[in-house]
């Protein structure tokens, strides 16, 4: 505050002589003298404190922090200065056009010779300063996007540990603790004690929000924080409208629930916070789950899990039974049995055809042998018989080998079939076996037919030598009726020998007499 001196006309009458001063003469003053004159007059005649109503104009606030503006009437203007120390205490931001009441003293600014009001207090007219301040901060933060819905983070469903920033002796903490104890006693509460009203409260609250973020880790993790206080006057709630608190809440990594005053009170904190609770009790309800609900939920989940697993077991059992009963599983066994039957049939057929072939061979051989036995006519015939027997033996060996290999293949197929689990393999066996009977039958045909033909040819050749054919040409064979020896020489004939003579169409018995020595063709 510049020094005020009482008005002293004698000083003006006797100005100090100065080098280069204007020539002394009546009523001629220097600029400084005039200003001094005015300053004296102001000090003497103008009250030290004036309250001036006017509209703010020509507003400027340089880096120095001083506030320069003018107060205007429709036809009048007054320069005003608000020094930084006073301006810093302003709750609102002065704006051009705002009607205010400025309180302070009039002074002369000698470098410019202007009279100005040194404003010590500035109040918006009509609304209170706090309302103006609230409106202004709200608008500014809103422009910055601090209230945007997209900034709001969801609260954890089931927090483990919460922080509460409030007064340790207020109603808020008591309400919060009561509510949490009732709803979810497992919730751990960390109280960050702060003053919630008066000078410096805003800074404490902001610092606590910063501290709980900074030390969350060391404190075991903080899931959510409640910042607030109980009800009070607008002035009481004011710290929660301070920018420093708003900034701290906006910067918090941990979700913040703001709970200030009563339902009707909306603060800047409420707007910046992730969630606004109308009261501290409501905030506690919002952050703490209901134990009863959780136990209900737990019971439900347990029951559902038990029901599900029981159902799954029943389902699996039913499925297993269905599967066992189903053709899908039954069919492989049925197929194997079918194939077994088929193999049996096949073996039977093989056996039958071999037996038949054998019988036919044997019959022919027997017939041939019988004839041979009956006639025994020479080495040629016994040679033929040996050949026939040899052929037949080989034929039978071949048939036997063929039958063995067929059976072996069948047995292999059957074993494979029984081992076969994969459907594809089973199908291949099935396919193979389906065609096996035809293949075996064909093989048997192929083996039997040429051999039969061979046998027929041999038998035919044999029959060419058949002694009966000789008999048809008129020869006969005579045997001793008793010994059945063929009579080859008359030497063998005794008188009255009973003989049998074989002709082509039969035989007759006779008695030999008078055997003659000379030959038949003598």
């Amino acid at each position: 505050m510049p020094e005020r001196r009482p008005f002293d006309p004698s000083r003006i009458r006797r100005p100090a002589p100065e080098p280069g001063a204007p020539p002394a003469g009546p009523n001629i003053l220097s600029v400084r003298q005039v200003n001094e004159l005015i300053r004296g007059a102001l000090a003497r005649y103008v009250p030290a404190t004036l309250h001036v109503l006017g509209e703010i104009g020509d507003l400027s606030r340089p880096a120095s922090g001083h506030l320069y503006f003018s107060l205007k009437d429709p036809d009048s203007e007054l320069r005003c200065v608000m020094w930084r120390s006073s301006a810093a205490r302003l709750k609102f931001e002065p704006e051009v056009g705002l009607e205010v009441i400025a309180s302070g003293g009039i002074e002369l600014y000698t470098p410019r010779g202007t009279v100005q009001l040194i404003v010590r207090r500035l109040e918006p007219r009509g609304v209170g300063a706090l309302e103006i301040a609230f409106r202004q901060l709200k608008e500014r933060l809103e422009r910055e996007g601090l209230f945007a819905a997209s900034r709001k983070r969801p609260l954890p469903r089931i927090p483990e540990r919460i922080a509460v920033v409030t007064s340790p002796s207020g109603a808020a903490i008591r309400d919060i603790l009561q509510t949490v104890r009732r709803r979810y006693p497992a919730l751990e509460i960390l109280l960050f004690p702060v003053r919630v009203q008066g000078e410096g409260a805003a800074e404490e609250i902001a610092a606590a929000v910063g501290a709980l973020n900074k030390h969350a880790e060391a404190l075991g993790g903080i899931d959510v924080a409640i910042v607030g206080r109980g009800g009070g006057s607008l002035e009481d709630l004011w710290p929660f409208n301070e920018e420093v608190v708003a900034r701290a809440i906006a910067a918090s990594r941990i979700p913040i629930v703001s709970a200030v005053g009563h339902e009707v009170d909306v603060t800047i904190s409420d707007l910046v916070a992730d969630l606004r609770a109308p009261t501290p009790t409501a905030a506690a309800e919002l952050v703490s789950p209901s134990l009863a609900d959780l136990l209900d939920w737990l019971g439900t989940q347990t029951t559902r899990a038990a029901r599900s697993v029981t159902h799954a077991v029943q389902l699996a059992r039913a499925e297993l039974e269905a599967t066992l009963a189903a053709a899908a599983l039954a069919r492989p066994l049925a197929r194997i049995n079918e194939r077994r039957q088929l193999v049996d049939e096949l073996q039977q057929r093989l056996h039958d055809s071999l037996t038949a072939a054998f019988r036919r061979g044997s019959e022919r051989l027997a017939a041939a042998g019988l004839t041979l036995l009956r006639f025994r006519t020479g080495a040629r015939f016994s040679e033929a018989r040996r050949v026939v027997e040899q052929r037949l033996h080989r034929f039978l060996q071949a048939l036997n080998a063929m039958a063995l290999s067929g059976e072996h293949r069948l047995a292999t197929s059957l074993a494979g079939l029984e081992r076969a689990q994969p459907a594809g393999q089973l199908k291949r066996y099935d396919e193979y076996l389906r065609h096996t009977p035809e293949r075996l039958a064909a093989a048997v045909r192929l083996a039997v037919v040429p051999r039969r033909r061979l046998l027929d040819a041999r038998l035919q050749a044999l029959s060419a030598c058949d002694p009966r054919r000789v008999l048809q040409r008129g020869y006969s064979i005579t045997r001793d009726a008793r010994s059945r020896q063929v009579i080859r020489s008359v030497q063998q004939i005794r008188d009255k020998l009973r003989i049998i003579t074989e002709l082509a169409d039969g035989e007759f018995h006779a008695t030999a007499d008078d055997p003659k020595q000379p030959g038949l063709f003598d």
């Binding site: 089931i158 922080a163 109603a171 903490i173 751990e188 989940q301 347990t302 599900s308 799954a312 389902l315």
Partner: protein, 86 residues
């Protein structure tokens, strides 16, 4: 189980349990898995119940010391309705 049930926070356990029950009820898992999941579900439920049973309220007052380190002390809540500094 990727993480032991005992290490889970309540909310994590809760989400896991919800997911398991949902999976079980979908009927898209086999019997063996279903039984394994049932076991896991029961472990989770027991874990959740244990947390809920820790019913003793824990309240601590946190103040920063001269070095700026947080210091926790037990806190006794105010009893009276009318506390001077609301």
């Amino acid at each position: 189980m990727s993480k032991s049930a005992k290490q889970l926070k309540f909310e994590e356990a809760m989400e896991r349990l919800d997911a398991i029950v949902e999976a079980m009820e979908s009927g898209e898992i086999g019997i063996e898995e279903s039984i394994a999941k049932y076991e896991e579900a029961m472990n989770l439920a027991a874990h959740c119940r244990r947390i809920l049973d820790q019913a003793e309220q824990r309240i601590q007052k946190i103040q920063l010391d001269a070095a700026g380190k947080p210091r926790a002390t037990p806190f006794e809540p105010p009893a009276s309705e009318d506390a001077g500094d609301r």
